[in-house]
Symmetry: C2
Subunit: 146 residues, 2 copies
DNA sequence: GGGTAATAGTTGTTTTTGTAACTAACAAGG
DNA sequence: CCTTGTTAGTTACAAAAACAACTATTACCC
């Protein structure tokens, strides 16, 4: 009787996903780290502001599923480095609208270009069709709408 | 002239992979954390020993691509909790052979079962074919041989 | 209005990582 | 042997994450 024993760690999805995520982030991570001294959360906040324009910390947190304390600290760093400015909402003085400064815009454009070509390079291992399917499946797993 | 501006964060592979990895680890993580007070690296070490039998810290590190300091700490915790035993290699007294105790075996079997059914549940969102393709692509991205 | 609850964001403290330097054991060449 | 280099694993210290408690403001509703 053969054991029904076909489960291996190398195939465990959370493990695979973690390893793939780590491996695929490496090169890009060292780019924004070396070039701008940014941390991952800072890059993410910057990227959101560049992509979607003015947002509040809460907006960013919701969209990227980053905890508010991480956002708070990333925003503090980015402000200190003059990459973003903050202004209170006059209707609800609890929240602040964040937006990129020209320097922030410049960094964003650079990083965005890097990210785009890096992404293309990663995806080049697959066919166009496979790539599309991969992204769809990942969005599914990540609970990201469409 | 439309801008060639089709790059969005939500589709950036490192971002997608990270989010998918985090999301998909959540439930399982809280299982081994609540049930055994384990950290991720401890679960991974335990799992490797359960799957492959006796190994050295180095073996585990190579196979799972975990840094030796993480392994060292995980091994210390697991030893302290009597899940594994260590014995010096008599031919090369620098390295130690690690193996599960009966308690470690029991935890391993439980966690392994959990992992298997959790994995199945994650994969159930996809067709069998899609699932196979997904794992293959992830192994590719994670730089894991076949 | 006045009290209670909820929300946006921050700060402080504890865990966990990351990195580098360290010990102990082996290897190899002279 | 004995110096130099390498390897397995540990430890110490700095950086970052997690978690809880906090301030300030707004919302609810009796």
């Amino acid at each position: 009787m053969p054991e029904k024993d076909d489960f291996v760690l190398q195939d465990f999805l959370p493990f695979l996903l973690n390893r793939a995520a780590e491996e695929s982030s490496l090169a890009f991570q060292s780019y924004y780290k070396n070039r701008y001294g940014m941390l991952r959360n800072e890059w993410r906040v910057l990227f959101h502001l560049g992509t979607y324009g003015t947002m509040t910390a809460k907006d960013i947190g919701q969209r990227a599923k980053i905890h508010k304390t991480k956002i708070s600290r990333a925003v503090a760093k980015l402000t200190e480095r003059r990459f973003i400015t903050r202004s209170r909402d006059e209707n609800d003085r609890r929240s602040e609208h964040l937006q990129l400064t020209p320097a922030g815009e410049a960094a964003y454009r650079d990083l965005r270009g890097q990210a785009a070509s890096y992404d293309k390079q990663l995806a080049s291992r697959f066919s166009a069709e496979e790539e599309k399917v991969l992204r769809r499946m990942l969005r599914q797993l990540a609970c990201i709408e469409p």
